[in-house]
Symmetry: C2
Subunit: 221 residues, 2 copies
DNA sequence: GAATAAAGTTAAGCTTGCTTAAATAAAAAA
DNA sequence: TTTTTTATTTAAGCAAGCTTAACTTTATTC
C-alpha cells in the first residue's frame, strides 16, 4: 500500500539515481530523508516486497519500472503544484516547494490533471525542473550543467536551481538573478572556486557552494 | 500536537454540537468518524489533556474555546478549498468534498489566506455552508430549516445541502435542482412524508430521507 | 427498584515508521 | 594480508491510532 512515507522514499530514490547515476546508498537516503540508516534498511525491505525497488543487502536499492512509475507520479504532482501556487496564487519562488511537499501526497489523479490542464500542460516547474507528463514521459531538458563548471568568458542562461533551500532562492530573487537570466562568466578565482558573473550590467560574485546549486546551459554566441 | 486525526475529531465534534446542540456522544462520533467507540474514548483523553475539549467519563465531550478555534481553522480550510476547486478548477459540486477532506490538513495559513483573497473573501461554500473567517467569526446564515419541515404551499429557496453523500448531490445536479433554486412545495404525503416541489415548471418528488438533507429558507411572498 | 438493554470504558494487542545501541559486513589503509 | 574505518543491518523499543473482547456504568423497562 502506498503511504506518504513510501512516496517520499520513492521520490528521493529517483532523484538520487538521477544525479548520481548509480544505486541509492543508505547513508545518502538517510541524509536526504532526515531519518536513521536503520529506517532506510527497514523501508528497503518493505519496498522490495512490494516490487517497487530491487534490494540486496549492503548493495543499496534501485527502482523497478513500477517503482519509477510511482515516483514520477509524485514528482509530477509536486512540480505541478509548485507552478500552480506560483502562477495562480502568486506564491514566491521560494515558498512553493515546502507547500508542494505536503500537497503532493493528497491530490487525486483527477485533480492534478485539472491543474495540468489549467496551466496548459507546462513542461517546467518554477525552478526549471521538468514536469513528468501523465503518460510517464519527461520533457527534454536542455543541455544543462552546474554553473560550478563554468569558465571565464562563457555566455550562459540560468535554467535550473536546486529548490531544497529557500534561503538561496530568496537571495537570488532579491538580487534579480532569476530563471532564464542570460549572463556572462567574467571571472573565476582559483583560490576558492568562486565565480563572478555579469547580468543586466551588474556583477555578482557567487561562492562554489552556490554555483553547485545553479544549473545553466551555454548560449551559442 | 496537532495531527490529521485530531483535526478530524475536532471538526466532527464541532459539527455535532452545531446540529445536536448538546455534547457529542461516543456512539455518534464513532459513527461519523468510522472508528470504534474505544478509539473515541482514547482520543477523548488526549484531547482533554491538551485542553481542546472538556471530558468527563460517560458524559461525552465538548469543545473548549481553544478547541473550537482549532475546529474552525480546519472547517475554514475545508470550505475554502471546496469553493476554490469548484470555481477555479471546475470540479463538480459532488467531487469537491472528498478532495477538500484531504487538502484541509495540509494547507498552511499563508496558502489558505491566498485562496481566500483569490476568491474575494467568500461567505459560503458550494453547498451553502458558511466559511469561518480568519478572525474566527462565522458569516450569518439565513433563517434555515430542513426541507422536511416544509408544508404544502410554501415558497422556498434552496440554501444548503448536506455534502457528505455525493450521490445525492449528483442526483440533484442532474435534475437541475441546485443551490439558490426557488421553488414551491406543491404536495406533502402523510403516507411517507415525501414532498413534491415545483421549480422551473418541473415537478420533483423527494423522499423524507432526501428532504432531511436539504435546507431552505422561506421566501417572503 | 430490579432486571435488562444500551452506551461507554478498559485491557491487550496490532501496524507503521521511526529511534538508539550493538553486531556485522564491506571498503580503505597500512 | 591484516588492521582500521566506514557503511549497513539487526535487535529492541517507542508513540500514534487504531482494533476486538471483556467489563462497567448509565438508561430504560417492567
Ligand atoms: Mn520542489
Ligand atoms: Mn513529500
Ligand atoms: Mn464538505
Ligand atoms: Mn479531514
Amino acid at each position: 500500500m502506498s503511504t506518504i512515507s513510501k512516496e517520499n522514499y520513492l521520490k528521493t530514490i529517483f532523484n538520487n539515481s538521477i544525479d548520481s547515476g548509480s544505486n541509492a546508498t543508505a547513508t545518502k537516503l538517510a541524509n536526504d530523508l532526515s531519518v536513521s540508516t536503520a529506517a532506510i534498511t527497514d523501508m528497503a525491505k518493505k519496498l522490495s516486497e512490494e516490487g517497487l525497488v530491487t534490494y540486496e543487502k549492503y548493495r543499496g536499492m534501485e527502482l523497478t519500472s513500477s517503482g519509477e512509475k510511482a515516483a514520477l507520479k509524485i514528482i509530477r504532482r509536486h512540480r505541478l503544484w509548485e507552478l500552480f501556487l506560483k502562477e495562480v496564487l502568486e506564491m514566491s519562488w521560494s515558498e512553493v516547494h515546502d507547500e508542494a511537499e505536503k500537497l503532493e501526497h493528497h491530490t487525486s489523479e483527477f485533480l492534478i490533471d485539472k491543474i495540468d490542464m489549467y496551466l496548459n500542460y507546462p513542461d517546467f516547474d518554477p525552478h526549471g525542473h521538468p514536469i513528468p507528463r501523465k503518460n510517464g514521459t519527461i520533457p527534454k531538458t536542455p543541455n544543462v550543467m552546474p554553473l560550478s563548471q563554468g569558465e571565464k568568458g562563457m555566455f550562459c542562461e540560468f535554467v535550473r536551481v536546486n529548490d531544497k533551500d529557500s534561503e538561496l532562492i530568496d537571495y537570488l530573487a532579491k538580487v534579480g538573478f532569476i530563471l532564464n537570466s542570460k549572463f556572462e562568466v567574467v571571472d573565476k578565482l582559483a583560490f576558492d572556486k568562486s565565480l563572478s558573473i555579469k547580468f543586466n550590467n551588474k556583477i555578482l560574485s557567487l561562492s562554489k557552494k552556490i554555483t553547485e546549486s545553479i544549473f545553466i546551459r551555454l548560449v551559442k554566441n
